[in-house]
Subunit: 399 residues, 2 copies
């Protein structure tokens, strides 16, 4: 039996006129009528979920146990192999003046020459620690520190605002002393290499802000949880464009193929993603598909864009796909209300369909109905165990 879990990022919204309330979604409606709806608190009541913690929870891993900082997911999503004890960071390539005042944390958000600049500071060895860095998108990348005596108890070098000095990394407790020292030395050496790098000379010549320092934040401890396949007994695949979502899935040992046309933006090729799901469902029992567009529009306060993305997904992604699965779940990882332009604690509407399900009286996946749905209110970490029972992969507690 086959299960499909679709996360429309930031799907939930606020007010009586939410994108889901007013969107034209005939395919989702037909499954809502046959199945049941409800509300999901990805982390817990009153928590504003991060994308990383929410995805961990919704994939069946209690984030209070398994979340070790965002860096690990970024590094995995960027393609690094992690070993227990490694520490990963998110990296912004930034623009500083000679006194290390930050002029632009995002170096003009311009990726010209960025791959070479990251490569120039890759693979340093400092005090027994190997440091790998790699570029991902725009000005962003990931860093991985490998060696003995590392710890996440270290403060960022990123001041998180412009016109402030680059922060000196400090130990947050005794365990962080070594990595703080290494991180400060890495930052110094990187600056020396980057300031005169040919790619920066080219950027300057073109009028693009130079990218002369890597700012590190979000230290994440690397440790590998029990693989999803082992924990739940099913083969699992992730169909996503965004690095973070693939990173979380890779952390849980999902197969995470690159999907051509899947960009992790609202312009992603939804037909290509649908075809990828149809292809991989042959070999995998559990397909996790991620659509990012709803969240991007929510952050931009773009109500019409969010509604339009939902309608396009209904036509180009859901139609002709949902009826191929025994179990279908469509929900969000959190709410990103257009009126708030950020993640919020509002629970997310959820559609659950399985052939023998107890139907309820709700007829659409939307905020106006979900609070009355037959699934009631569940936590993110409850979702996968419910799915597993419907595909006969759950175990009894007791006899």
């Amino acid at each position: 039996m086959k299960a499909l879990l679709v996360i429309m990022d930031g799907l939930g919204d606020r007010t009586d006129k939410t994108p889901l309330n007013v969107a034209n979604t005939p395919c989702l409606d037909s499954f809502a009528k046959k199945g049941m709806t409800g509300l999901m608190y990805p982390i817990g009541i009153g928590f504003i979920p991060g994308s990383d913690t929410a995805h961990l929870a919704i994939l069946g891993y209690d984030p209070f146990v398994y979340y070790k900082g965002r860096g690990a997911f970024e590094a995995l999503g960027a393609g690094f192999e992690l070993k227990d004890g490694d520490v990963a960071f998110r990296v912004n390539m930034s623009t500083v003046d000679d006194n290390w005042n930050v002029l632009d944390r995002r170096a003009g958000r311009n990726d010209f020459g960025m791959k070479e600049l990251f490569a120039a500071i890759d693979n340093m060895e400092i005090d027994g620690v190997n440091i790998r860095v790699t570029h991902t998108v725009e000005h962003r990348g990931a860093a991985l520190f490998s060696g003995a005596n590392l710890s996440v108890k270290v403060s960022n070098t990123d001041p998180h605002r412009e016109n402030a000095k680059v922060e000196h990394a400090g130990a947050l407790d005794k365990s962080g002393e070594h990595i703080a020292k290494v991180l400060n030395e890495f930052t110094r050496r990187a600056y020396d290499i980057l300031k005169n790098h040919p790619a920066n000379k080219e950027r300057a010549a073109k009028g693009i802000k130079v990218a002369n320092i890597p700012l590190l934040r979000g230290p994440g401890e690397c440790f590998r949880p029990e693989p999803f396949e082992k924990k739940f007994g099913v083969k699992a695949v992730c169909v996503a464009g965004g690095a973070l979502y693939k990173g979380v899935a890779r952390y849980l040992s999902f197969y995470t193929p690159d999907i051509e046309g899947a960009t992790g933006t609202k312009n992603t090729n939804l037909v290509a993603k649908k075809n990828a799901v149809l292809k991989y469902m042959n070999d995998y029992d559990f397909v996790f598909a991620h659509l990012k567009g709803t969240d991007s529009c929510g952050h931009d306060g773009d109500f019409e864009g969010k509604k339009a993305f939902i309608e396009r997904a209904d036509k180009e992604f859901f139609d002709g796909l949902l009826d191929k699965f025994d179990v279908v779940v469509v929900t969000g990882d959190h709410s990103t209300p257009c009126v708030a332009k950020r993640h919020s604690m509002d629970p997310v509407p959820l559609l659950f369909y399985a052939r023998d399900i107890r139907p309820d009286e709700t007829t659409r996946l939307c905020e106006a109905q979900a609070y009355k749905g037959g699934l009631g209110r569940i936590l993110g970490k409850d979702l996968v165990p419910i799915i597993m029972d419907y595909i006969n992969k759950s175990n009894m507690f007791g006899e």
Copy 2:
């Protein structure tokens, strides 16, 4: 004040046409109209409850704290007295060849001479451990190991399939070494006694498979939780036919009389059970009654049988009984959907009536309404504390 808790085993079901949705139940309907309904997760959302863990929870004992393996309940149900530190097992009397290949794990499911065969291997002393065994039904029984240095960290001797050798019991950690040795010696001695036992000669002469070895499984640690009467301050009685349910109740120190005509099957004498409840309610404040038929039908996929049992219970058991109590709860220990033929994680409909209760708009005990009921969704372990308040037996937390 008097409370009645009726567990209809495996009551919940799936699809829009469940036995409860379509059954004709005028008595239950009248109490649903006056009271409220809701859904109960016996263990937790997404958990498939076993009968043992579910009953513990629903009787007010957190199964994550109090569940120590099935063996203890079986041994109690079979009439043994347990002491802290004892280890109990479930026993199948089985048929093996000379090389201890298992030919039939259930010895033809024939109980001819079975009482004598169990008696023949009862009361052995091995390395300071006393071993009691007793017959229950068919080929089944219970074993109780008493002595020092025992542990449940021991593997089964039951291979759980035919055409496989009897398993050598092994220690799962250091604490299990002594009991593993004793269990293997017990099995060897039992075989020597049983292979030439007159009852087996008679079985062979009649063409019945011999019962020449006891296979032990499900080791359960014996420890006695705080008695129900002490924990909740009420005198409690269990009216049930099945050994397991009486065993759980005995574990919690309920009074567990034998009820004539109560068979633990769908053909049980429901009028006799009703009369037993009416009799014992004079001396006990809290009556736990268990009806098994719904579960048996669910396991058999027998929709009509499950519906008919519910209708018979309404007429022969509930009618003329429910109005005698101040508090009435009718629910299941889990769902056993006819379409699944096994326990499932689906929450169970629950009817709660008390004279001064806040009524809701639901009018029947059934899946189609319970998700909208006034009780909402509760966990199994929440139920008894709610009942206790309605009979003025609960204590304030704080002042």
